[in-house]
């Protein structure tokens, strides 16, 4: 039982982890505002859904809003930072995370919002001898679909390749005629979009409040495990962390009562970084003076 739950929760982690990996792969930036983007995505979907739009179309509209917000964010804040050290950009994303968190709570308040009527039925589906809640199943399927789409995008399209080039070496990419402004705008639009989908699904599990933003941080161990720039790594990492978390909850809780379940991934991450800092499939960078 904890095996299936682990895999299914891992599917959600994988979905959010994809957002992290995408923006890292596109722009070489660790986007610490990812959790807040997820939160905003959840709220926007919720707002459309409350206005009477069917859930599927609400998600599509969220994607549109995500593109607009992503391009706006890039134009207002990150456009001026092209060519600056990567760490500066990371700190700007920290600032953005505060801004988005404050703005989201300012607009939607701090109370938990629940999708009414519920989008997915609470009754678990029976697959063979297993019981699976539909939300988890859908997010698992969605994560796999998005994985295929994004792998194809990065491997076969011109945009995907130019994004990878920018992430690898901004200066070289600029000199080869890649438009960094376009790449960053696209990267942020994609991040907002994937976070929006993730948020829409997450909002269906426990309702929407600030804890959705924290979940965006909780997937960090998954991202590290898979390697920061590996799309399949995000999926595998997400599922492994989901499993690990559930096994820790089942077997370790008797020895360390309390919140072992929430903290186990982080303990694992710190130890993992000591031994294999680039994750399972991340690029190993060789540094020279």
């Amino acid at each position: 039982m904890s095996l299936t739950t682990g895999i299914m929760v891992g599917g959600i982690y994988a979905l959010v982890a994809l957002g992290w990996v995408l923006i890292y792969k596109c722009s070489g930036v660790l986007n610490l505002a990812m959790g807040e983007l997820t939160l905003i995505g959840a709220y926007v979907t919720y707002t459309f859904h409350q206005m009477g739009v069917p859930f599927f179309f609400a998600v599509l509209l969220t994607l549109l809003v995500g593109i607009v917000l992503g391009v706006l964010t890039e134009r207002i804040f990150l456009d001026k930072l092209i060519g600056e050290p990567v760490l500066t950009v990371i700190m700007v994303t920290v600032g953005l995370s505060f801004f988005f968190k404050g703005a989201a709570q300012f607009i939607w308040g701090a109370d938990t919002r629940v999708f009414t009527p519920p989008v997915f039925s609470i009754k678990p589906l029976e697959v063979g001898f297993l019981l699976i809640s539909p939300v988890y199943l859908w997010s698992f399927i969605l994560a796999i679909v998005l994985l295929l789409v994004f792998v194809a995008f990065f491997k076969y399209t011109r945009w995907g390749l130019s994004m990878q080039a920018t992430a690898d070496d901004e200066t070289a990419a600029l000199s080869l005629g890649v438009s960094a402004r376009f790449v960053y705008a696209a990267a942020w639009a994609i991040a907002f979009m994937s976070a929006g989908v993730g948020g829409a699904l997450l909002g269906n599990i426990n309702g929407i409040n600030i804890s959705v933003a924290y979940l965006g941080l909780l997937v960090l161990p998954a991202v590290v495990l898979g390697g920061l720039n590996s799309v399949p790594g995000a999926i595998v990492g997400g599922i492994l962390i989901g499993l690990l978390q559930n096994f820790a909850g089942t077997y370790l809780d008797q020895f360390f009562p309390g919140g072992v379940k929430e903290i186990a991934p982080f303990v694992f991450m710190v130890i993992f970084l000591l031994f294999k800092p680039y994750g399972l499939w991340g690029w190993e960078r060789i540094e020279r003076v």
Partner: protein, 370 residues
């Protein structure tokens, strides 16, 4: 080159002079004036209730600065990004509280009021060692991988160890209450705003002196070399693992002292005083104040704390017309903080300390600034 431009006609003859504390009589005078303001000027505000409020604001500035100095050492001098400094402050605060409340002190130590001062040092050491533990991955990784480990430190320490285990000691549940009169230094019981302010001022002054001395001696030069290029530093024979861990220890020690100071400023200690927000806040403080300078940490703390106080004061009259402003003030504060970080990074990446340096040099060389 020294960090100050000297007035025309003043030259340094040797290296010792170049690295000296007081590079000219004028600078020495300024420092004495500053100490006089800190130790006599600000406490003398406390004659009126209004002034007492501003003294407590100054205490908050000092607390923020104590935390930010450690972050400044890690980020600004050693180039090790940390987003979990609140964890080490929390370790310090809890060590100090546990020692004062639970440790079976011999009677004479309690009588002489030595328990709290000893616990400050112990808190520093405990937090320093805890910080080294999470600094270990820095031997292998850097940049944002280090952000991840320090974030791990935050969640593991505050959300798990402190909340689930340490808080349960003594069966109180969530918070440790500190009854009035527990915190004693020598013959003085620390309870009024002014006394707390003095504790802060002494600790902060000591910390600034220690840090400034470390920065201008061998460890400081090693840290700066590691920050600028760690591979080159290693090639030059600097033991980078040792110095990275040393910087984690010193930063953790400072955080521990800041934490044990927080104990005397609060009536009850709970893990909620050390959220992840505090870690980010401290990083924001040094980004705004200026990365890579001790003044930066202080300017940043003054700027952030005072601006937030002023925002709060502005919110009260506005609330007469729009009551929801007061309700959602915390969110406005978040937004303002986030925007301030972004704006400073984009338009003023050198921070307030750089502007201060420019102004100082302008007047140093005035009117012949060429």
């Amino acid at each position: 080159m020294s960090s100050v431009w000297l007035p025309c006609g003043d030259y340094h003859q040797n290296y010792v002079e170049d690295q000296g504390w007081w590079q000219s009589k004028f600078i020495k005078g300024k420092m004495i004036l500053l100490l006089a303001i800190v130790f006599i000027g600000i406490p003398s505000l406390a004659v009126s209730p209004e002034g007492e409020y501003w003294v407590s604001v100054a205490t908050m500035v000092g607390y923020t600065a104590m935390g930010a100095l450690g972050v400044q050492l890690l980020i600004g001098f050693a180039g090790l990004l940390t987003l979990g400094h609140a964890a080490f402050i929390a370790v310090g605060a809890y060590t100090s509280t546990m020692l004062v409340l639970q440790f079976p002190w011999p009677q004479f130590i309690v009588d002489w009021g030595l328990a709290y001062p000893i616990s400050i040092v112990a808190a520093g050491v405990a937090a320093g060692l805890w910080s080294v533990l999470f600094g270990l991955p820095s031997a292998r990784v850097k940049g944002f991988y280090l952000i991840l480990t320090t974030m791990g430190a935050q969640f593991i320490t505050v959300d798990f160890v402190l909340t689930q285990y340490v808080s349960q000691i003594g069966g109180r549940g969530q918070a440790f209450s500190l009854p009035p009169g527990t915190i004693k230094i020598g013959p003085w019981v620390i309870e009024s705003d002014v006394q707390i302010y003095y504790v802060m001022a002494v600790l902060l002054t000591l910390m600034v002196i220690v840090l400034a001395n470390l920065i201008r001696s061998k460890p400081g030069r090693a840290w700066v070399a590691i920050r600028d290029n760690d591979i080159a530093a290693e090639a030059l024979g600097i033991n980078i693992v040792w110095y990275k861990l040393l910087s984690f220890f010193v930063a953790g020690f400072m955080a521990g002292v800041a934490g044990s100071f927080w104990v005397c400023n609060t009536a009850a200690l709970s893990p909620e005083h050390f959220p992840w927000f505090l870690s980010l806040w401290l990083v924001g403080v040094i980004l705004i104040g200026g990365v890579g300078s001790i003044q930066g940490a202080i300017f940043g703390s003054i700027f952030m704390v005072v601006i937030m106080e002023l925002l709060q004061m502005a919110a009260i009259p506005i609330a007469d017309y729009y009551p929801q402003v007061l309700f959602s003030f915390a969110y406005i504060k978040d937004m303002a903080f986030g925007l301030a970080i972004c704006a400073f990074l984009i338009y003023e990446p050198n921070g307030l300390a750089y502007r201060w340096w420019q102004a100082k040099n302008y007047f140093n060389l005035w009117p012949f600034s060429y």
